[in-house]
Symmetry: D2
Subunit: 387 residues, 4 copies
């Protein structure tokens, strides 16, 4: 007799989310009792934000549905409208695909569209990366999704503890580690920089020399302070340009304020034509981690610096408060949005080379653990506070 | 020097929500440091669900904006789409009105549209009636909104305790009592049935005799079980019809499954033409409470039975699991969806008359307490889990 | 070698549209070179407006997609929003189904959503029933769709002439006749009233005696005058009630103002409890035509009176200006919204029995003609004015 | 007694539309019997497409409402969704502003959202620039809007004739000339290049020398062929780069396919770093016309080449079929998407200097004529085909 196959709909809304979930997607696809329904939405569909969908297709994933939801423009009200449109579109998608479980990833504002849509439609909801602490609107969104979710796949024991304290049943909280660490583990196992990033990914700016060490920068606008996004990124540009160290710079993802960050970068390039910076828009997650592993260190406010780089042992300079509150390893130092402080930090923190690996965000087998849990949990979509 | 007036946007999405918040609206409007922006949305705009907006206008409130959001049809996916459309519409409304604080009420699914829209737009959010326990999707929605909200106006100390345990700062949790109890207090102060409900509100069915005692029925469909809504309401109809006691029946509010309930009522009326039941669609909240206070008791699954009736001391028969988990007083007995059990409960529980008043859901001064808190809280829209 | 099958997406948005297109759907489904993609949208999905989708399923059609679009409420702005939402939903549907040709029917406001969506997506568009003349917003919508459409399947030579004068290429204008007449032809071929409408369709009100002749009423609200809808329908109710002739009354379809018409009917029923009127919501088109064919005549403002009844030879009393401008046969007399005039017209016009059949709207083979044209036209989605 | 002031809502959806309507906006604002309600929507709000709203504000216009509607991504279905969202948003705007007449401009796909919304809401609709002939989807949209509109302000007698032949009442067709020609008239009256475009507008690329003649390029993607947009623009880039003549290049407006055009430009810049081309995103319409008037000629597929340049006497090279069918003066020559043909045309057609002015698109007083008509037409929103 044929076994019952569970349909697992995973909604990917952004390039970094794909990077985080990739090994779980692999494991779901390979699992004999699961069927993967990969849904691509929001900025993951847009070339301006890294064209994640092309990477997915190159990685061999079949796309079950696309949901275009990003309303263009810089106003905060458009975040709400994009989220609302996401619900309208995802309701159609879920109605067509009839998944047994919906999976939502992390805490970007548009992910709550996935969560509420599943909740309204009485579809069991799994949340990856709940229980963490950060600043800005992500904080509200993340814990709000926890209260909508039926299963929690968390990165660390402290995160699991927070989810349980939020009233979630311990039976439904799984410390799987973050699947992004799975990729990091594979990188450490085979660390050589085996591709030419300029040939493979194009990008704009000078093809800098990577032989003697290079920096990686990834700096996102901070939502609740979007009018300052342009000034903030400009400080980092000055610091990197002044030092003259070869630098690979990655374009930010979508948010109110992206235009500020993007315009800041464009203006600086026009005005100073920096000769030590190359700009990329999108990159295969593994290639990106490999570049990180072989770099002097990472600068900016990306969570990659906090998470994957902890495992990889890559030194990181964290600018501003975007990562405030996150559990962290020793690889990280903090600086304000100030070119002098950023330059000093680069000079002091990046000359000692790689540090010891830290498994605070996972042991490198998170994807499989998530797939196994998805195949075995009891299906349910109701719960009650235990206190 | 002119004082700074805070603009308080209150979004009312349903008839019962208006009933709950009315005295707070009065107190906000009357407060010298507050300006009320009353926004009416979802089923509160529709005649099929009681035309709450007409009641508001009759009560002298000026409507700052309307947001039509209800997509017609019985599919669960339409709850998600209605919520998404609510975000699209409310984002425009908030952008036009620029409130200092947005207030959302209770836990119907469409109220999360208010909460997320405010969160995405960095507008401080207040939530009324968090921390309570019920079944079905409301449970997820309620606690999810708690995690999006910056201020919490709760009904009882147990509710406050739950909100604090969910990680909310004690500074931001206010035990105001539920404003619906304010109306109940006024009724007890002047209890006479001073109007003819048939003349004032029309409705359909026989004008039953109220002189020797009468029942009140209000039964909503249960979201996660919407296909049974028709059968469920039919059991109650049989029970009430069999006993022949005069009965005032109130139409349900909007939900997936409403059609089941409504069709059940319509079919029963066509088939049996009951002579002891009169059906109403909408009623001024005070008139409704006055009718309740003078009744033999209330039957169904409305939270009015649990909350206002606790204060009023009106006996209540609670059918099914819609109110499971709510803090409750002695006025309530539970029965399943079964005509025999409902009849027995009416015969046993409704012959002793009114019971003692219980202030479990408030002491009758909640509206003023909410307005005072809104005028004095520090404005903020960010927070971090304390654990 | 397998032949190339054309995918034909037909979007049905209302009960009367289904009735009009049914034989074309049959012929498309049966055609060896066509594949039918039946899309159901707007009021065709709603029980309040006759639940056309249930009729389609009973008729054996497979539904390729549903698009819920009706925003509930009586404001004219909701007609625009419903149409806009229709475009959002249909764009997803067309993107999924990838039709070779999209077919839109007649002139209700929401049908322009189908037309613009196809035009924006470069999908060839066929329009059924262009070139006719009526009053109100339908007039704008109909000719506007003609200018978006690539193929025109018109009912009559006068309509064809108008479409050509609007600049459409004669090659693309096909005088197929209206497919609704196909059903009428089949009725005349086998005219006996072979079912009990009360048993088969339920409805509300007295089961009137059909043996000695009966009236049929179908009266829709008039869009541009929606506030008077209630008064208008009340005049007809008085007239029919006063005469006491058995009457089968059909519920109106959705429009701004429907609430006025519906409320008018509901109020009248409560107040007068008419004993000679039975109210139906939905009916199989053939059963409906059979009832018409065997009736004394039809009263109201439905286009069925103008079109099908011309072919059937059923006398018709047309109230108000909703059908102004339509090509018409001798079966029709006009009256204003006035109970006296309506009564007089019933007495004078309905006592001579059926009239001669008139093929002004088709010869009864329109469905097949449409399917044949759809299989043979050259695919195109561009055109230029010839003058 | 105070005179009745008519509220005129003009919806501007793109940078070129603003340029076309500006003098009409001036005249409406100045008219004693009119009140201007300027609504900005679609790409007119976006910095990627020239930030038209900033130009309007700099020109002293007050914005009555904004409607963000552009869904980001390159799929054709997003044109439909953007239009649908436009209807949802504009219905709210019209409901708030309650205009007496709505004005829609020209024929971009999103303008039909304005037209249908007004039609559904029974608001009289005026259309500027009906009756013209072009290729692609604009052709369908334009004539479809004509059939929705109540008043027609056309550019030329041939256009008026076409609108009348489409069945519009001659009373409602006004040959005002295109208001864009009003700006051109003012330029001829004071033709000196009185500003430094690089200082005033920034842009990217070399600050080319304008002293000895320069080219202007504006090339849009062609909707129905969007996948070729990138190749098409690349041909023009090669031609201009090869010749080495100083060139001012203007970024395209939004359409499916914009990404192709934009990416084509970006890639070419990265690869060849052309030293004779400067790229601009937005410019005050008058400054743009002044640059055109002092140029050697314009290249691309913009309608400015056909319309304003006819009046200005500026030679134009029209690439591809985007302007096919438009009435045209002698200033225009046609070439295919081919670098050789484009180069040859530049060499042959641009060395004779400016040509004689031609008033085929207006005599330079269109804005005032439109305002006068808006103040005097009878208000109406119903019409019937006269044939």
């Amino acid at each position: 007799m044929k076994k019952n196959i569970r349909k697992i709909a995973v909604v990917v809304t952004a390039r970094p989310s794909y990077s985080r979930i990739k090994t779980a997607l692999d494991a779901i696809r390979a699992h004999p009792e699961l069927e993967l329904q990969l849904i691509v939405s929001a900025s993951a569909l847009l070339s301006r934000f890294g064209n994640a969908i092309e990477v997915m297709e190159r990685d061999g994933f079949e796309i079950a549905a696309k949901a275009y939801t990003v309303l263009e423009g810089g106003e905060p009200e458009l975040m709400a409208k994009t989220t609302g449109l996401g619900m309208i579109e995802l309701a159609t998608v879920f109605s067509n695909l009839k998944p047994d479980i919906v999976v939502t990833i992390a805490d970007r504002y548009e992910t709550i569209a996935t969560a509420i849509t599943a909740a309204c439609m009485n579809i069991p909801l799994a949340h990856v990366q709940g229980g963490e602490i950060t600043g800005n609107i992500d904080e509200k969104i993340r814990h709000s999704i926890t209260k909508l979710a039926d299963y929690h796949f968390v990165s660390s024991e402290p995160a699991a503890n927070r989810v349980r304290r939020l009233g979630e049943s311990p039976d439904c909280v799984f410390v799987t580690g973050c699947p992004s660490i799975d990729l990091a583990r594979e990188i450490i196992e085979r660390p050589d920089l085996d591709f030419n990033p300029f040939e493979k990914y194009g990008g704009v700016g000078v093809n800098v020399d990577l032989a003697n060490g290079y920096l990686v920068v990834m700096q996102h606008p901070v939502t609740t302070d979007f009018e300052h996004a342009r000034e903030q990124v400009t400080e980092t540009l000055y610091a990197v340009n002044d030092l003259g160290i070869p630098c690979l710079w990655f374009w930010p993802n979508t948010d109110a304020g992206t235009d500020g960050t993007s315009n800041g970068i464009r203006s600086f390039r026009e005005q100073f034509r920096p000769t030590n910076i190359h700009f990329f828009k999108n990159m295969d997650p593994k290639d990106f981690l490999r570049l990180l592993y072989n770099s002097k260190g990472i600068i900016g406010n990306s969570s990659v610096a906090v998470r994957e780089c902890a495992y990889l042992g890559v030194p990181a300079i964290n600018i501003g408060n975007r990562q405030d509150g996150r559990d962290r390893a020793d690889n990280l130092v903090d600086v304000p949005y100030n070119r002098k402080h950023i330059k000093q930090a680069i000079e002091r923190h990046f000359h000692n080379g790689r540090m010891e690996s830290n498994d605070i965000y996972g042991n490198g087998y998170g994807g499989q653990a998530i797939a196994d849990a998805l195949s075995s949990v009891a299906l349910k979509f109701q719960k009650t506070l235990p206190f």
